[in-house]
Amino acid sequence: MPKIELYKLFNKSGYTLFSPRHPFFAEERFAQYLRAFRGEETEIILHVEDKGKESFLTRLPPEFLTVEETSSGYAITPRKSAREVQEYLKNVFFDTLRKDDALLLEVQRHQDLFYHYGRFRFRGFYSILHRLFPILFIMHGIPGFQPMAWDMIIGDPYFEDRNFLEISRHYQQVSWGLESAFEDVTLRVVENHALRLLNDVVRQDRNGEGFVQAFRLAARLGLGFLKDFFWPATQATEKSEWTKFLRPPVPLAPWSDSQ
């Protein structure tokens, strides 16, 4: 069953969903899409800190649904229709995971097809001359060259074309799988203690450096791939190591007009 893991990370102002995936070694995902092509249904596994809290209504994002506590219960005001929410979620996956993999798939397909496209077929007028080149040897007293010539003229292009077709068929199947992988999806919510520890560290935000501390702990907690999230987060929002390159600007002239 193809599985997509999502981690619900605390990012100081709200929550972010992060999916562990290698930026360019995509074979493991292609293998999953091939499974989807064979008719298996995708499962999205959402890792959260606390399952109990997740099911609580007020935790829902306010742009979909506003929940207010009243004296007698909860006042629920839907902001979007179910259809709109579905569309929204679909677009979210299409713009991130699916688009990314579709691009990688196209790149990989063309890389693999490049070497096999007409490798032994030289097109154009001169190709005819080149193909007849072994005739010279055959006519000049080396008839043993014949089997080799027929191999070159008929055998090689035939098998190379088969290679080309095999590869394009394979990638076609993967891309069909990619399309169907995001059609039928089941969601499963699971509780992750390591994630809770990390989110607590970010929430505590000691010295205003919650992200960098989470970055240091992530690998030890078995969530090393979250370094890819915490490292840019700390560099962008906390005390960055790149600030040492921020110098006061060098004046173009030793004096300025205002002085």
Binding site: M1, K3, E5, E27, E28, F30, A31, Q32, L34, R35, I45, H47, V48, Y115, H116, F137, G141, I142, P143, G144, F145, Q146, P147, M148, W150, D151, G155, D156, F159, R162, N163, E166, I167, H170, V190, E191, N192, H193, A194, L195, L197, D200, V201, R206, L217, A219, R220, L221, G222, L223, G224, F225, K227
Partner: protein, 281 residues
């Protein structure tokens, strides 16, 4: 999954082992590893297809045991590892099969040449190395393809108390080692070897550690994948047609997991010590 087919459940223990991994994405993590490599796993499921692979997790005692999500991520990692391996083997085999078939024409040419004409030596310029294209992946694929008959993988808590006890002993020994010891794996293996004589469970745990040791000794993925030495270039030339069919590397079934002896309190203490030191300075 077809509910009508008879599925045999293969129960494979998965040990959570105290370790100190050192990669960028796994620094300080422990490891989850079964007591067999993927070749042995494939051998175990011989003649048992289709089947369900059930990983039974055994972990040393901890104040914060593995949660559902962590178990699930271990399962996902194992599934992905095996899937990717089988996927790459089958994909490259599709191309390699054609190349090897190309050699059959070449063979016909040789035979015709041998029996028909006196000046036949030219045909040795054909590509005899095509016969060897991707032969290593072919052999590997034959061994591992039965793993593709796995219909479902599940993960559960292991029920054997002996294994849990053995792991707690291993953890006790691990905690006696100094934290910066570079030869900690050898020491643990030595400990397990002495224990193995009394209890065979320790032998299983040693095998799981051997998995990890093999992985630690192995070269990095990039160095393996890119043929950067002359010898690998020559080898890949003969086994694959000019690097079009790269070698598919057998995965080590080792998954980094949370350090179960880790608590946030220890980190808090360290911060407090640092603050005290800073105040002194």
């Amino acid at each position: 999954m077809n509910w009508r087919e008879h599925l045999e459940v293969m129960d494979i223990p998965l040990y959570i082992l105290p370790a100190r991994l050192s990669g960028w994405y796994e620094e300080g993590a422990w490891v989850a590893s079964p007591p067999c490599d993927i070749a042995e796993l494939a051998r175990k499921v011989r003649g048992k297809f289709p089947f369900v692979l059930q990983w039974a997790v055994y972990a040393p005692p901890s104040s914060l045991p593995l949660s559902e999500g962590e178990m699930e991520s271990i399962l996902c990692a194992l599934e992905r590892m095996i899937d990717e391996f089988l996927y790459s083997l089958s994909f490259y085999e599709k191309i390699a099969k054609n190349y090897r078939f190309m050699f059959s024409l070449c063979l016909v040419a040789y035979i015709i040449g041998l029996f028909s004409v006196n000046t036949w030596w030219f045909i040795w310029f054909r590509q005899p190395y095509l016969a060897l294209t991707g032969i290593d992946n072919w052999a590997r694929r034959r061994r591992f393809l039965r793993l593709a008959q796995c219909r479902l993988q599940t993960i559960t808590q292991g029920q054997d108390p002996k294994r849990h006890e053995a792991l707690s002993e291993v953890l006790d020994f691990f905690l006696t080692l100094s934290p910066g010891d570079p030869a900690y794996l050898e020491k643990i293996m030595g400990f397990l070897k002495t224990k193995e004589k009394t209890d065979s469970v320790f032998g299983e745990i040693r095998k799981a550690y051997e998995n990890l040791k093999r992985r630690e000794k192995d070269k990095s993925y990039l160095l393996k994948r890119i043929p950067h030495t002359s010898w690998t270039k020559v080898k890949r030339f003969f086994l694959g047609d000019l690097l079009l069919i790269p070698e598919v590397f057998t995965p080590f079934l080792c998954i980094p997991v949370r350090d179960l002896s880790f608590t946030l309190e220890a980190v808090e203490e360290r911060y407090a010590q640092n603050r005290a030191l800073q105040a002194l300075q």
